[in-house]
Symmetry: C2
Subunit: 199 residues, 2 copies
């Protein structure tokens, strides 16, 4: 027999089903939650409910938003003719933090990954193609992650978009700023050499 | 401007307010939650709500329960005359797992900790004293954690219960089963020597 009441057991199970949370952490989280003052606990519950109810995908770029068209797509100062293609909303947040990009995004919500049974139709590629076909787009910047799956996805999309009169580029590979060369892996160093630029 | 919709930002904040969850983990949890199918997400929300609504403290032993008197206290086969005093419900669960204890518990919900401004009145000590005064208790087993605060709390309670005709014991200190002596700290070894038993 468990020493915990069943509703607490259920709560621990739910927390344990979240990624990166083991049974011990789940227990700690459940106890913490129960120890919260009523209104703090309620506002946690409300935040979950509210996010689940209101967050959806932008009809233009597929980024997460709580309106029909996201804040970036509806901003008239963003250049609609430059589309940066990323795998997920976290990448949008990362690029926005750099304050360097004035175009718009397209969020794929995944990458092609045959091992995980994710094909081109399982991510938002056709929405991108429709967008390029219907709108006046100058440049597509592929900004999927620099790993095998991100690379494959980028190549697949680049080939798909070839018929359209659009420039396709991708983020530069190279040494991360502040990194010691000593710790750079061979592939990164090779790419950094290949992509060397004039001073 | 944040690239996330505000309800998502709020959700990330809420997750980040949980113990041991940093901003990156909170983001991952929030995205994971949003990606859940509607009914899975709803059952997570319901589990939180249900636990918060139904879990309270047992009127006898103060352990968490979803009825008035917990399953252990209301079990007629448990010996009410032996009370094991622990600091929190997790300790009850740990002792129950050993299947070695047939008595009942008293959960203090904390330990005396002057540094954290927790005095004897902030934890459930007076409930224990009332219990010992009103009921026929043979033995009180102090099972607070073997650290300074747990020790202090145990001593404080032991002194408080001296006027009553009750045996007060505490868990044995010693080498944990399966541990290599090499890694035992000095204090544990000292306690293990002090408490040595005849073969």
């Amino acid at each position: 027999m468990s020493a915990f009441p069943s509703s607490l057991e259920v709560l621990v199970e739910k927390f344990a089903s979240l990624p990166g949370i083991g049974t011990k952490s789940a227990q700690r989280l459940a106890f913490h939650f129960l120890s919260l003052p009523d209104e703090t606990a309620q506002s946690f519950i409300n935040a979950l409910q509210e996010a689940k109810n209101s967050v959806r995908c932008c009809t233009v770029c597929q980024n997460l938003t709580d309106s029909d068209v996201c804040a970036i797509c509806s901003n008239p100062r963003r250049d609609e003719r430059v589309i940066c293609v990323v795998s997920d909303p976290k990448a949008v947040a990362a690029i926005e933090r750099s304050h360097e990009f004035g175009g718009v995004y397209h969020v794929l919500h995944g990458v092609i990954s045959p091992l995980n049974h994710i094909g081109p139709d399982d991510i938002r590629i056709k929405e991108l193609v429709t967008r390029v076909a219907e709108k006046d787009v100058d440049e597509i910047i592929m900004a999927t992650n620099p790993d095998t799956e991100g690379e494959t996805t980028a190549r697949y999309i680049a080939r798909l978009l070839q018929p359209f009169n659009v420039r396709i580029t991708r983020l530069a590979y190279g040494i991360p700023v502040g990194m010691s060369l000593e710790y750079a892996d061979d592939l990164t160093l090779m790419r950094a050499l290949e992509g060397r630029q004039a001073f």
